[in-house]
Amino acid sequence: MNIHELVLLGILFSSFLTGVVIFFLNEESHRLRTWLNLLGAGLKLILVAALLWGVRQGQDYSLTFDFLPGVRFALGADANSVLFVALSSFLWFWTTLYAVGYLEDSPHRSRFFGFFSLCVTATTGIALSANLVTFLVFYELLTVSTYPLVVHRGTPEAMRGGKIYLGYTLAGGTLLLLAVAWLHQLTGPVMFKERGVIQGLMASHRGELQILFLLFMLGIGVKAAIVPLHGWLPKAMIAPAPVSSLLHAVAVVKAGAFGIVRIVYDVYGVENAARLGVLQPLAIAAGVTIIYGSVRALFQDELKKRLAFSTVSQVSYIVLGTAILGPAATIGGLVHLVHQGLMKITLFFGAGNYAETLGIHRVSEMNGVGRRMPLTTAAFTVAALGMIGVPPLAGYISKWYLKKGAIAAGDEWVALVLATSSLLNAAYFLPILYRAWFLAPPSVWPHEHRFGRWETHWMLLAAPLVTAVLVIWAGVFAESSFSPLAWARLITSREYGP
C-alpha cells in the first residue's frame, strides 16, 4: 500500500472511524467527543491539503480492488474530486465546531455526531469515487446516514420529514442503481474519464443512452432537488441547524449536483451529451427549478423554509452551468458548487444562531436583530448579498460566468432566467436585511439565551464569520491562483481539451 492510497483511505477513515468510536461513546463524555470530532475533522483537512498539493503537482492518486467479479471499487482524485472534497472537508470542520456549540445539552449527542461523521465520510467518498459503482455505494450511504440526522429531534414532524426524505431519496437511489447496473452492462467496468466513456456506444446505443441519461437525472436529481423532485427538501428543514447546513451546503444537495456534474462530464462527456440531445431538457428543468424555487422562497415566512427554497433555486445554477455546452458555462457551474456552499452554509449558521440565541424562527420576528447580534447579522448579510449576485462577492462570479456561457452557447433565454432569478433573490433577501438592520428590535425576544461575553456562544459565532470571510475572498480574489475559480478553470480546460 503506497502513500497515495493511504492518503485516500485516510481521508475516508478520519471521519468514518471517528464516527464509529463516537457512536459507542457514553452520552456524558462531552469533552472526549468534542476532541475526537475536531481531531477527525482536522486530520481530514490536513490530508485533503496534502491531496490538493499532490493533484496540483500532477500526481496520480488511485485505490482499487474488485469487490465482485468485474465490479471494481475505485477511489481516485482528479481535479473534480479535489474541488468537492476540499469544499466538504473544509466546511465539515466548521460545521462540526458549530454543531458542538449548537447541540450543547441536547439528548442523543453520541448518536448525532456518529451519524454526522458517517455523513461526511459518505460525502468525501462521493467526491473521491473514481467510477459509478463506487459513487453509488457512497451515494446510498449518504442517504442512510443522513436520515437519523433529519429525524434527530424525534418529534412527529421530524419523523414525517424523515419519512418523506427517505421516500424520495431511496426511490431515486433505486433508479440510480438500475442506471448504473445497466450502463455497467453496456460498457463493462469503466472509470470516470474526462470527455466521457461512452464514445463507443454513441452510434449503436443512442436510444438506450438517452433513456439511461433520464434515469441518471431522475436518480440523482432527487438529491439535487430539481423540480419536481424537490419535495423532500423543505420538509427536511425540521432537522437541527447544523444538519440543514450540512444538507444544503456540503452533503446531500451538493452530492446531487456533483453527481450530475460527474455524469455529464466524466461519464457521458459534455459533447457526447449534447450530441444525444439530452442537455437541452436538463437546462430547461434547471431553469424552471431556479425560477420556481425563488418564487416559492418569496412567500415563506419561516426563515429556514425560505432558505430551503432558495437552495432549490441556487443548486440548479450548478445544473444549469453543467447543461450548457461551452467552457464559460462549465466554469460558472463548477465554481458555483463551491460558492453556493460557502454562502448557503453562512446563511444557515446565521439562521441557527438566531433560533438558538433569540428563539427567532420567522422572518417577521427579525426586526432589529442586527443590533442585538451584529456579527452574525453581518455574516448573514454578506452571504445574502452574495446570493443576489452583488459584486464583488462570490455569487457575482458564478452568475457572470453562467451568463457569459449561456450567451456564448446561444441560449439567450438563460440570461433572462438568471436576471429574473437575481431580482427574485433580491426580493426575498433584502427585506430580511432591511428588518434586521433598520427596524427597531422588540422589547423581548421570543426565547433568549445569554452566552456571556459574545453575542452568542463563540463556537456558533466563529463558523459563520469564517465562511462569510471566504465568501468575500472567493469573489475579490477570484483571479488569484488559489481560488475556486482557478480550480474550476483547471477542470474545464481538461474537460474541453486543447
Binding site: G70, V137, G173, L178
Partner: protein, 492 residues
C-alpha cells in the same frame, strides 16, 4: 486433519454433542460451544482442501455410488457450511443468555431442551449440505424438520404450539412427497446419487412426476409462495434464537436441495418454462411477502413476512442461472444474497428477542424511543435492514447487483422491475420500524436489562451482512469450485 476427517467431524461432532447434551442436561451450552470450535476447525481444513483440490468426494464405507452413499463438498457446500457455523455459533452465544432471562415456570425446562434440539438441527444441516444422495437427503430433511418443529413448540405458548403443529403437518407431508419422488427416481434410474443421476437422467413421465413431487415438497419446506402460509406464524412465535435459525438456515436447506436437484441431478429437465415458473413464484413471493410485512402489527411477524419475500429473490436464480449463458453470474448472486439474508435475518430476530425481553412486547407501534433504550440493538436492526433493502455496500446489494446484471445481460427485464420494487417495499417495512425507534420519548420506561453479549451478537451479524458486500469477490471464487456444468463453464 484431512478433508475426509473434516467431513466426518462436521457431521459427527454436532450429532454426538446433541446426544451428550441430552444425556448431561447441565452441560448443553458447553457442548454447543465445543461443537462450534470443532466444526469451525473442520470447516477451515475442508475449505483449504476444496480451495486447493476442488470438490472433495468422500465415499462412505468405501463403496461409492450407486451402492453406497457419497458425501461431497464443493464450493457451494463449503459456503453453506460456513454460513451455518457462523449463524449457529452466534445463536449459541446468544441463547446462553436468552433463556436465562425468562422467569416463568417452564423457563429452565426450555433452557435445558434447547441445546440438544439445536445441536440436532445443526448436525442435520451439516449432513444435508454434504450429502450427494437424494435418499440420504430425505433422512437429513426429516432430522432437520423434527428439530425445527420441536424448537418452535419449545416456546410453549399456545400460538407457538398451534404454529408448530401446522409446521409439522407441512413438513411431514412435504417429506413424503419428496420421498415418493425418490422412489420414482430409483425405479427409473436405479440410483439415488446426485452425480450419477446427472449423467443418466433423461426426461420422461416418471422423472417429470418425480421431480414435480420432490419440488413441491421442497418448495413447501422452503416456504415458496404460495406454500409459505405456515412460515410467518412458526417463525414469529418461536423463541427468538430459534426464529433466527429457522429463517437463516432451515428454509435454506430445502432451497439448497432444490438447487442440487435441478442444476446437478436433472439439468436436462430445467426447461425455460420451468425456470420461468420458479421465477414467477419467486416474484409473487417478493411482492406478497413485502406487502404483508408492511401491515404486521408485531415486529417478529414483520421479520417473518420479510423472510417470505427475501426467499422469493432466491428463486429468481432459476430463470437467470438456468438460462445457459452467464448462468454463473446469477448463481453466485443468488447465493451471496442467501448468505447476506442469513446474517441480516439472524441479526433482526436476535434484535427482536432483545426488544421482547427489554420492553416486554414487540408491538411495532409501541416501539417509540427504542433507540434510546437499546441503541446497539436498534443500530443492528438498521444495519441488517440496509442489507435487506439491498443498499450498497451490503451483501444484499452484492447479490442483487449480480442478479440484476444477469437480468440485464439476458434481457429478462421483467425481473428487474420486481427486484427494484421489492427493494422499495423492503425499505418501507424497515422504515416502519425505524420510524418508531427514532421517535423521541420524553421519559422512556426503564427496560429490563439485557446482557451486552445479546446486543453485540446481533450487531456483529448485522455488520457482517453489510460487510459481506465488500468481500463478495471471495465467496464468488469459492462458488466456482465444482459449480454445476449447466452454468456454462462457470465463467462470469
Amino acid at each position: 486433519m484431512t478433508s475426509s476427517w473434516a467431513i466426518a467431524l462436521l457431521i459427527l461432532a454436532p450429532l454426538a454433542a446433541a446426544a451428550l447434551a441430552f444425556a448431561f442436561p447441565k452441560r448443553g451450552c458447553r457442548m454447543a460451544l465445543a461443537s462450534a470450535v470443532i466444526v469451525t476447525a473442520a470447516l477451515v481444513v475442508l475449505a483449504r482442501g476444496v480451495l486447493a483440490g476442488g470438490a472433495q468426494l468422500h465415499r462412505v464405507g468405501g463403496w461409492g455410488a450407486p451402492l453406497g452413499i457419497d458425501l461431497r463438498a464443493d464450493g457451494l457446500a463449503v459456503l453453506m457450511l460456513g454460513i451455518t457455523v457462523l449463524i449457529a455459533s452466534a445463536v449459541a452465544l446468544y441463547s446462553r443468555h436468552f433463556f436465562s432471562l425468562e422467569h416463568d415456570g417452564e423457563a429452565p425446562h426450555r433452557a435445558r431442551y434447547f441445546w440438544p434440539l439445536f445441536l440436532f438441527l445443526w448436525a442435520a444441516l451439516n449432513a444435508l449440505f454434504l450429502s450427494a444422495d437424494i435418499f440420504n437427503l430425505y433422512v437429513t430433511l426429516e432430522l432437520l424438520g423434527f428439530a425445527a418443529v420441536t424448537l418452535v413448540a419449545l416456546a410453549g405458548r399456545r400460538e407457538a404450539l398451534n404454529a408448530a403443529m401446522r409446521y409439522l403437518f407441512v413438513s411431514l407431508s412435504a417429506s413424503l412427497f419428496y420421498l415418493l419422488g425418490v422412489a420414482l427416481v430409483y425405479g427409473q434410474c436405479a440410483t439415488v446419487d446426485l452425480t450419477a443421476l446427472g449423467a443418466k437422467a433423461q426426461p420422461g413421465p416418471a422423472l417429470w412426476v418425480a421431480l414435480t413431487l420432490m419440488t413441491g415438497g421442497l418448495a413447501a419446506k422452503a416456504a415458496l409462495f404460495p406454500l409459505h402460509f405456515w412460515l410467518p406464524p412458526a417463525h414469529a412465535n418461536a423463541p427468538a434464537p430459534v426464529s433466527a435459525l429457522l429463517s437463516a438456515l432451515v428454509v435454506k436447506g430445502s432451497f439448497y436441495i432444490l438447487l442440487r436437484l435441478w442444476f446437478e441431478a436433472f439439468p436436462a429437465l430445467l426447461t425455460p418454462a420451468v425456470a420461468q415458473a420458479f421465477g414467477a413464484l419467486g416474484a409473487a413471493a417478493i411482492l406478497w411477502g413485502s406487502i404483508n410485512a408492511l401491515f404486521q402489527p408485531r415486529l417478529k411477524l414483520l421479520v417473518a413476512y420479510s423472510t417470505v419475500a427475501q426467499l422469493g429473490y432466491l428463486f429468481l436464480l432459476f430463470p437467470l442461472a438456468g438460462a445457459r449463458d452467464d448462468g454463473f453470474l446469477a448463481w453466485s448472486g443468488g447465493l451471496i444474497f442467501l448468505g447476506a439474508h442469513a446474517c441480516a435475518k439472524t441479526a433482526m430476530f436476535l434484535t427482536a428477542g432483545n426488544i421482547l425481553h427489554a420492553a416486554g412486547h414487540d408491538r411495532i407501534r409501541d416501539l417509540d424511543g427504542i433507540t434510546h433504550v437499546l441503541p446497539i440493538s436498534a443500530f443492528a436492526f438498521g444495519l441488517a435492514g440496509l442489507s435487506l433493502v439491498g443498499l450498497p455496500p451490503s451483501g444484499g446489494f452484492a447479490g442483487k447487483w449480480l442478479l440484476l446484471s444477469a437480468c440485464l445481460a439476458q434481457g429478462q427485464w421483467w425481473w428487474v422491475i420486481v427486484m427494484l420494487f421489492g427493494s422499495l417495499l423492503a425499505a418501507a417495512y424497515v422504515m416502519r420500524v425505524l420510524n418508531h425507534a427514532f421517535t423521541h420519548v420524553p421519559d422512556p420506561a426503564t427496560p429490563n436489562p439485557i446482557p451486552p453479549v445479546m446486543e453485540w451478537t446481533a450487531l456483529v451479524l448485522a455488520v457482517l451482512a453489510v460487510g459481506l458486500g465488500l468481500v463478495a469477490a471471495w465467496p464468488v471464487e469459492v462458488l466456482r469450485l465444482g459449480a454445476p456444468a449447466i452454468l456454462g463453464g462457470a465463467g462470469p
